[in-house]
Amino acid sequence: MASLRDIKNRINSVKKTKQITKAMQMVSASKLNRAQRHSQAYEPYTRKIKEVVASIAASKTDATHPMLEERPVQKTAYIMIFSDQGLAGGYNASLFRSFMQTVEERHSSKEEYGVIVIGRIGRDLLKRKDITIFDEVTGLSDQPSFEDIKNITRLAVDMYKDQAIDELNIWYNHFVNPIQQDVTEKKILPLTDFAEEDQSNQSYEYEPSEEAVLEQLLPQYAESLIYGALLDAKASEFGARMTAMSSATDNATGIIDEQTIVYNRARQAAVTQEITEIVGGAAALE
């Protein structure tokens, strides 16, 4: 049996760990709160832009734009949103696992796809698997700004225009609630399905021309999709971390309780033994 001092040390170390996990849980909770508010503020923008794009698409124009053009898929690009830091439970691992499963089914060789990765952990995981990385973004702030992802959006759109890639999908953890995050895949390019039908059925005038409007509108739309996914993923990250840290804190509490009982029992045993020894010693003197 462990000595009294060993148990005491164990308890102290677990207590310290518990303080850390508890602090991280609270930090994540407040970050989650902010991320959710951010997502909410962003909602009207994405809804509006979707509305406009959908109504333009619905007006069945004959204007073409490289981003609308569907072609046989030879090379696929994936944007994957991971986190920069760990300690978020299965946040990164489950995303990575389902991604690997999917690409193995979908592609016969590694030549057929590449990844634009956000987040340090994801980058390291992908590198280890020798997956082509087109670009990486690390060290994003917790409340990412639209500017932060502009570069990768531009890169993806340019690659698509240059026919370096024929398809662009985004992978991220969709935030359901702090306990549940679902791995989600969404298609970004080509822009084909505009889910909601436009009810107003407007036919627009375009100033200066339809092409010029699409030229500006479509990249902005693609950006908004990616940015929306990023905000969603950030909320998931904090949710996952909060849940992971809260269960870590619970575990620590459990261990401390358990060890405290062991400690008390050992102390009691030691005291009893001492008394027995004294009594035994006194009896021997008589």
């Binding site: 923008y45 639209f146 407007q202 005038e205 375009y206 100033e207 010029a212 902005q220």
Partner: protein, 134 residues
């Protein structure tokens, strides 16, 4: 007098929402004055101040990157960023302007993204113009 409902929306939320008698924007092809009952229109915007005439006066909003969508009873401006005069940090805009100008001057000798500097200058100028109205 009839009015049109104007909303200016950015990724960070709705910046402006209200009834307007006249919305004046600068599109890539020139100034556009939008009155209530305008035909449906979509046009990309320049980085510029948007003038909103309401019954209580004229509001200015600095808008950068985006487009305007017009319907007979609503006008929506979707921009990457938009600021009301009271939200603008004048000093910051001023330093941004100086920095952009300096970069443009140096652009000949060094490898500098001219387009980016020009856009930055435009944004700074727009902000300063709008901030004057405070």
């Amino acid at each position: 007098m009839s009015t049109t409902n104007l909303s200016i929306v950015t990724p960070d939320g709705t910046v402006y929402e209200g009834e307007a008698d006249l919305v004046s924007v600068r599109s890539t092809t020139g100034e556009l004055g939008i009155l209530p009952g305008h035909i449906p229109l979509v046009a990309p915007l320049e980085t510029s101040p948007v003038r909103v005439k309401t019954n209580s006066g004229t509001d200015l909003v600095a808008v950068s990157g985006g487009f305007v969508e017009v319907r007979p009873d609503t006008v929506t401006i979707l921009a990457e960023s938009a600021e009301r005069p009271e939200e603008i940090d004048k000093d910051r805009a001023q330093t941004a302007k100086e920095r952009a100008e300096e970069r443009l001057n140096r652009a000949k000798q060094e490898e500098i993204d001219i387009k980016r500097a020009q856009l930055a200058l435009k944004r700074a100028n727009t902000r300063l113009e709008v901030a004057k109205q405070k």
